[in-house]
């Protein structure tokens, strides 16, 4: 039944996160943007404090829409800090989505990042060259290869690594493995310097004959030539609404701030005026609000489908494509509307513009999302629509 009402649980979580954003995130937002890669004791203290409440994200049993709401709210506070949150990262989402109960018990408490991209492949994950070979003697996987752009690879303990069992078998042979902290042969080789989300580390890792237990493979080790890769890709259906929510959160931060600032200058945004009575700035703000709402509703829809266990690849990509693009444009526009002050590092708007750009890139660029949408609505294969 069509219903736009959020659950009391979601509203409560949203309110709680809002106070955390105001009391902690916003206060350290600029500091860690300017001091990239430094320790952030405030985050760890906060995480400790929140343990009694079940943590900020409330564990893995929470419904997907609530997660989306919480993520939007956190990102409204600060996207970099959200991505550096001590409770874990994208790897945890992947583990939650596909792990067995035994694996959840083993890895559920540890924090985890995700390693997919390599120097030679980004969105074309089927070209992954990192290999995983089974050593039948010891029943261990041996991982070899280089991974880049690992969000939180320094902060988080474990890393979920995408590797191929057999390069000649293409996408079907790609599986994901949990490589725990301290695994021999796992090495952090580079800390990236980025446009935005600077408080979240992005690293490169090398795996050199890195041995991990057989039980660390996520999903089945069987290579299914048909549909095998879809298991790995299904993780994205679960995580893309969250990434979309990040873009929405940052865009809302910029838009809220722009509206408040304009109001101080005596400019309010009316919803009941004809177009001839609106200024260019008022029109721009109305359009941005509409774009933001559109992105949010598409994202909510994708999340509610996950809750129901309905396949949502199309809807998840729609939400992600819309939100990433919207956030990019909305934050740029807000900087523009606020003039020299918007461009100044005294305010956070310029930071939000830099921060949110990543939401149109990671977890599949906007263009990749369009490709996914197009293939689905046209019923085309990858060979037909390249």
């Amino acid at each position: 039944m069509i219903d736009f009402e959020l659950s009391p649980e979601a509203l409560k979580a949203q309110e709680r996160v809002r106070t955390i954003c105001e009391n902690v995130f916003r206060k350290i937002s600029r500091k860690y943007d300017e001091n990239e890669h430094s320790e952030m004791p405030e985050l760890h203290e906060l995480a400790e404090e929140l343990k009694g409440e079940g943590g900020l994200r409330g564990g893995m049993n929470r419904d997907f829409l609530t997660n989306v709401i919480v993520t939007e709210e956190l990102s409204w506070g600060d996207l970099g800090l959200t991505l550096a949150w001590p409770e874990g990262g994208l790897g945890n989402a992947a583990i939650n989505a596909v792990a067995t109960p035994e694996q959840k018990a083993r890895f559920g408490k540890a924090t985890a990042s995700m390693a997919i991209t390599e120097p030679g492949c980004g969105s074309d994950t089927s070209n992954i060259t990192t290999t995983a070979k089974l050593d039948p003697e010891t029943n261990e996987w041996i991982i070899n290869g280089e991974k880049i752009f690992i969000t939180g690879g320094k902060t988080y303990d474990n890393v979920v690594v995408w590797a191929t069992l057999d390069r000649s078998l293409g996408r079907a042979a790609i599986k994901s493995f949990v490589v725990e902290k301290g695994a021999p042969g796992r090495e952090l080789v580079k800390l990236e310097h980025k446009l935005g989300i600077r408080s979240s580390d992005t690293v490169a890792m090398v795996f050199n004959d890195c041995r991990i237990p057989y039980e660390n493979i996520l999903g089945s080790p069987e290579i299914k030539t048909r549909g095998g890769f879809k298991g790995a890709m299904a993780t994205f259906d679960a995580t893309r609404p969250g990434v979309a929510a990040m873009g929405i959160g940052v865009a809302r931060a910029a838009l809220d701030f722009t509206k408040e600032t304009l109001e101080k200058e005596g400019i309010t945004i009316p919803y009941d005026k004809g177009m001839h009575d609106l200024s260019a700035v008022q029109k721009a703000v109305l359009d941005m609000e509409a774009e933001l709402e559109a992105a949010r509703l598409l994202t909510w829809r994708a999340a509610t489908m996950l809750n129901k266990g309905v396949r949502n690849s199309l809807e998840a990509s729609m939400g992600k494509a819309k939100a990433g693009r919207m956030a990019t444009l909305v934050t740029q526009r807000c900087v523009e509307i606020l003039g020299p002050c918007g461009y100044s590092r005294d305010w956070l708007v310029e930071k939000w513009m830099r921060d949110c750009k990543i939401t149109d890139i990671f977890e599949g660029t906007g263009q990749i999302q369009m490709l996914i949408i197009a293939r689905q609505i046209l019923g085309y294969t990858r060979a037909e629509l390249k």
């Binding site: 069509i2 509703l297 729609m318 949408i373 046209l378």
Partner: protein, 364 residues
């Protein structure tokens, strides 16, 4: 708990109306547009579906089903998908019926609502828009003045659907208490229906200029009596409905362009194999869904009796813009063929432009 799927009743409405629009509206659309004629038959058939009487309580002759803006706009999307002009014409009785249901006095409900429960189409309409570039529904220039126990209406209205045959026209005017609505007989002294107007689109829909010159109306014809109407709510109900119709037009164009792009071969393969075409289709699909969700949310809020001014306004701006984009893509994907009137995309493109200008031409 948030959810975005139709319930059983809504699925039934959607299915029935989609089939009806396919069977009845689609086959008439081209010829009606070319000849600027609205088939009376189509109006009667819509009426026969019972869509008017089902929203009216039993005590006024109806079938006592729950009235829902959401259900109405689900229907409106499908009918507009069939053809916008015929849909607007067929649903025009709502323009008088809904304000009376919403704000009418008991006497007004008793007097007027049974008309909509009959077997044949009750021609009635509303006059809201006014013919000037800077038209703003919040600043109407048509006035209502109380004089000698009557309301005296003065002003010029445009885009009044079916004004030539309407038994009554609901005239919106600025009165002492703000925006007011008067039920004026089609043949009332002081009300004159002008020449049929000519527009870029909506050609099958008879639209007229209506001039009110010292048009005297009994005070019991003021909707809501002393209390008047909730003008904002009526505008918002109208916007939700227009948004849904914009979704219908956009979806029609998108579906047609998608099928065409799969069949049309260029350089040895379907043009849909190319990202430049495929991405236009992907964007259209995404925007059609976004528009629909915005429209649904406005209607959902209105059904809860909440103020939906912000939601309706944002949805309307968004839907007007996106409809223009999606229907433009429709023409563009067909290329030269899209420009020829043998294909319907040019009609959806012309009709799509109307939403930016329209206010109050449909209501949920």
């Amino acid at each position: 708990m948030a959810d975005f799927s139709l319930n059983e009743e809504q699925k039934l409405i959607q299915e029935t109306m989609r089939e009806f629009a396919q069977e009845e509206f689609r086959k008439l659309a081209h010829e009606s547009d070319e000849s600027s004629t609205l088939q009376e038959d189509a109006l009667e058939k819509v009426c026969a579906l019972g869509i008017f009487s089902s929203s009216i309580p039993e005590e006024y002759g109806g079938h006592e089903m729950e009235r829902s803006a959401l259900n109405t706009i689900i229907m409106a999307e499908e009918l507009a998908w069939g053809d916008l002009s015929i849909a607007l014409g067929a649903l025009s009785p709502l323009l008088m019926m809904t304000p009376i249901l919403e704000s009418g006095t008991e006497d007004q409900k008793k007097k007027w609502l049974p008309n909509f429960c009959g077997e044949s189409f009750y021609a009635s309409t509303a006059a809201l828009m006014e013919p000037r570039v800077s038209f703003d529904p919040f600043a109407l220039q048509t006035t209502a003045e109380e004089r000698g126990g009557k309301a005296v209406l003065n002003g010029v209205k445009c885009m009044v659907p079916l004004a030539d045959r309407a038994r009554q026209i609901l005239v919106y005017a600025k009165g002492a208490s703000g925006m007011e609505a008067y039920i004026v007989d089609g043949d009332a002294a002081g009300l004159s229906v002008g020449e049929r107007e000519k527009y870029m689109g909506l050609r099958a829909l008879p639209l007229f200029t209506v001039t009110l010159k010292d048009c005297e109306v009994d005070l019991d014809r003021r909707v809501g009596g002393e209390k008047g109407i909730d003008y904002n709510r009526l505008l918002n109900l109208s916007r939700a409905s227009l948004c849904a119709m914009a979704v219908g037009i956009s979806r029609a164009s998108h579906e047609y362009a998608l099928e065409y792009a799969k069949e049309r071969v260029a350089f040895g393969e379907p043009i849909a194999y190319r990202q430049s075409i495929a991405f236009m289709l992907a964007e259209s699909a995404m925007e059609v869904d976004a528009m629909r969700l915005l429209a649904w949310r406005a209607a959902w809020k209105l059904d809860r009796g909440e103020d939906a001014t912000r939601e309706s306004t944002l949805a309307k701006r968004y839907c007007a813009d996106q409809t223009m984009k999606v229907t433009d893509y429709g023409v563009q994907i067909l290329g030269g063929h899209g420009y020829i009137r043998e294909h319907p995309v040019e009609r959806w493109f012309r009709n799509g432009r109307s939403f930016a200008a329209l206010e109050g031409l449909a209501i949920a």
